[in-house]
């Protein structure tokens, strides 16, 4: 009996399928979906979410994306999620349309509410919410991955470099790297969960992202336990190998005013190693004026990465709060889809993103600043040249 309950319990929170849970219930509200816009009809069946007291009476406030973006996402997953249209149904027996399914999945991902709450909101069984959301995740992985990729064309990279230089004068900068923790609520009694126990005594999974100046995620690594340092996660990534082998960040060099050249690079905080293609700030006290100025500009430039991760978690709250016993194999894929949705909102220039307040803190509970001692001599020379160049440029 205990195992039966546990099975259902875990499946709920891992968004896995709950078998045998499909129940036929009497239709409890009238059907008038045949006429008018899908949203008009759909919104009538939503319980609690659209109450005027909360001020949530618009599509954008429910799903945190515009209708245009919603329609685009529906078009992405249409083929996969329309495969078996009659498979999922509301409590009243009405089958879920493509828009219904996408709406349920987006609400689950964006609100971070439990399956039961989302199910009650839409008149669905929680297992249906779980299955629909997972179906959406699988489809998005397949159909939307092109929204998260390293810049492939020179034009794209030139645009990125130009925007970075406009922030605080860093030339030839191609990205900013940062790491955030996706916290989980796991039972302490289970020794298998120790691997997820991090330095801040949370269970967490890491997400490391390289971000462009538009806060678009260009490369992510996720799935590692939260105790691993930023440096280790970076070194285990394929991005590191590609850069080390000269297959990435190997584009045009820039001639600085002194006649020296500077290659393509990304910037990161003190938790990352100083490498020829990764510039970190100066560490320690008693820095020179040039070094301090460099650090200030460096901080302001890499702020895009912090903002991006902060917005990611703010918009897709399923990875913002403490997740209740998630499936550790599925969670990275959920994180990936949240990153894809984050980029889609940017790519489609959705106006909704402008209404979301920008926060700079994505790891509120992680106060401890990591430091990486590793430094490369070539990288130190490069940073010296860069700091000289930046300090002589016009103050921002």
């Amino acid at each position: 009996m205990f195992l039966v309950d546990f099975r259902v319990w875990v499946s709920i929170d891992s968004m896995g399928p709950v078998r045998g849970s499909k129940k036929k219930r009497k239709r409890d509200f009238s059907e008038n979906e045949e006429s008018g816009d899908w949203w008009v009809d759909f919104s009538k069946g939503i319980n609690g979410v659209l109450s005027p007291s909360k001020g949530l009476d618009k599509f954008e406030l429910v799903f945190k994306i515009s209708r245009k973006t919603f329609n685009y996402i529906c078009s992405l997953v249409k083929e996969d999620m329309s495969a078996r249209p009659g498979h999922f149904s509301f409590s009243n027996g009405k089958p879920l349309s493509l828009n219904d399914q996408v709406a349920v999945a987006l609400r689950r991902l964006s609100s971070g509410d439990s399956l039961i709450i989302v199910g009650e909101s839409f008149g669905l069984h929680h297992s249906t919410v779980s299955q629909v959301t997972w179906r959406f995740v699988e489809s998005m992985e397949k159909r939307g991955l092109h929204h998260l990729q390293w810049p492939s064309s020179d034009e794209e990279m030139t645009d990125i470099k130009s925007k970075f230089e406009k922030i605080r004068g860093f030339p030839n900068c191609c990205g900013a790297i940062d790491t955030t923790h996706i916290t989980m609520c796991l039972p302490l009694a289970d020794p298998a969960n120790k691997v997820w126990f991090d330095r801040e005594k949370n269970h967490s999974m890491l997400l490391q992202a390289i971000v462009d100046p538009d806060m678009r995620l260009r490369d992510i690594v996720t799935g590692w336990p939260g105790k691993l340092s930023d440096s280790i996660v970076l070194k285990s990534s394929n991005f590191f190998k590609l850069c080390d082998n000269g297959k990435r960040l190997n584009g045009k060099t820039v001639h600085l005013s002194e006649g020296s050249e500077i290659r393509e690079y990304i910037i990161g905080d003190l938790g990352f190693p100083l490498l020829p293609w990764l510039v970190t700030p100066y560490r320690g006290k008693g820095l020179s004026e040039i070094q301090s100025e460099f650090n200030k500009r460096h901080f302001a430039t890499r702020m895009v990465a912090r903002r991006a991760l902060s917005r990611l978690k703010e918009m897709w709250k399923i990875i913002h709060g403490t997740m209740w016993r998630p499936d550790k194999h599925r969670l990275p894929r959920i994180i990936l889809v949240c990153c894809l949705l984050h980029n889609i909102v940017i790519d489609l220039e959705d106006d909704v993103q402008d209404e979301i307040s920008l926060s700079h803190c994505h790891d509120e509970n992680y106060r401890q600043q990591q430091t990486c001692e590793s430094a490369d001599l070539t990288a130190s020379d490069m940073r010296e040249k860069l700091s000289l160049y930046v300090s002589r440029s016009s103050p921002q």
Binding site: P17, A192, I220, V221, S237, K328, P332
Partner: protein
């Protein structure tokens, strides 16, 4: 409770602890011998320890709370009384009889859960380290390795976490002292952006290893069937020993995946084999993918619903499952 005991009981207890029995114990000699940490013997003590009334005077709380090594004579006396009358082992003095219950150098027990393996003994690890050079125990050897090895991914971050990413040739190193966890890593720089890896952890020492299975671990049932058809041949490439080491049963959440609980091969379908005493004791060998529907299996073999089997009585459960399947064949399927 104690006062109700007979003197015979007290004598038996004293003799079991190596104390002499009798009515007039030589307390001084007992105390002097106990302060040295060694168990008193019949030769060293000629008289009995105390009367029953003295034993009653020691409250239970006092006996439990007294530290094992007290410098004062009263503490020693309480310790002796604790040894004599408290059977719970609260005092940590090492009587030879008690200490013999545990091995001085316990050896590693191979059958353990996937993700948390008990620590092996230092001796065992030292033996193995002579071969692989990859095994360490404690901080000393960790530091040694920091000095001696210099692999690509060795990183010491604030001296707290260390990761070794080792190759296929090094897989014979002793990882029994490490807890093992399977993680799903998404790295969009890879063309195959999703991969499964093993994370071996011992305190703050981490090792990362690619999982060899060529089958995607998390795909829908429909995809699994397709993949199985193409990947069945790949299983032959995997070494049996490697599979025995690696393909252990996952934790309960993995068991909840569709088809995860089904017996996957002939060995597992034997009703006499304790195949389903999860978690911890996984099958010796499993196919990474479920059996395709066209692959016929022995129709008489039951497909047991794992969640309904009490782990304490597997054989009984199997019998029940058989009989139940005859009556309700459809309900016994796991999909």
């Amino acid at each position: 409770m104690i006062s109700a005991s007979s003197s015979n009981w007290l004598d038996r207890l004293r003799s079991s602890r190596g104390f002499p029995t009798g009515e007039e114990p030589d307390l001084d000699r007992i105390l002097s011998s106990s302060s040295s940490g060694s168990a008193p013997t019949a030769d060293s003590v000629n008289n009995s320890v105390s009367t029953q009334s003295q034993a009653v005077a020691i409250p239970v709380r006092l006996r439990r709370d007294k530290p094992a090594e007290c410098g004062t004579s009263s503490g020693e006396f309480a310790g002796v009384l604790c040894d004599l009358f408290n059977m719970g082992g609260e005092c940590s003095r090492s009587f030879s009889k008690k200490s013999s219950r545990k091995q001085a150098n316990p050896r590693f027990c191979g059958a353990s859960s996937e993700s948390e393996l008990p620590s092996s003994s230092d001796d065992l690890r030292r033996e193995k380290s002579d071969n692989g050079g990859f095994v360490s125990s404690g901080d000393t050897s960790l530091n040694e390795r920091r000095d001696n090895t210099n692999t690509n991914n060795n990183t010491n971050n604030n001296g707290k976490v260390r990761v070794d990413d080792f190759d296929e040739g090094e897989e014979d190193v002793d990882l029994k002292a490490y807890s093992r966890s399977e993680v799903t890593i998404i790295d969009t720089s890879f063309e195959e952006w999703k991969s499964d890896k093993w994370v071996f952890r011992k305190n703050d020492e981490w090792k990362i290893k690619e999982k060899k299975s060529k089958c995607k671990s998390r795909v829908s049932a429909g995809k699994k069937r397709k993949l199985l058809v193409t990947n069945l041949g790949d299983n032959s490439k995997l070494d049996d020993d490697q599979l025995k080491k690696k393909m252990k049963m996952k934790e309960a959440d993995n068991l909840l995946q569709p088809n995860k609980g089904q017996p996957q091969n002939d060995k597992e379908r034997r009703p006499t084999q304790k195949r389903v005493d999860f978690p911890g004791k996984g099958p010796q060998r499993r196919f990474p993918c479920p059996r395709p529907p066209e692959k016929s299996r022995n129709e008489s073999s039951p497909v047991i619903l794992l969640k309904s089997i009490p782990s304490s009585n597997i054989n009984a459960a199997m019998k029940v499952g058989k009989s139940f399947q005859k009556k309700h064949p459809k309900q016994m399927k796991i999909v």
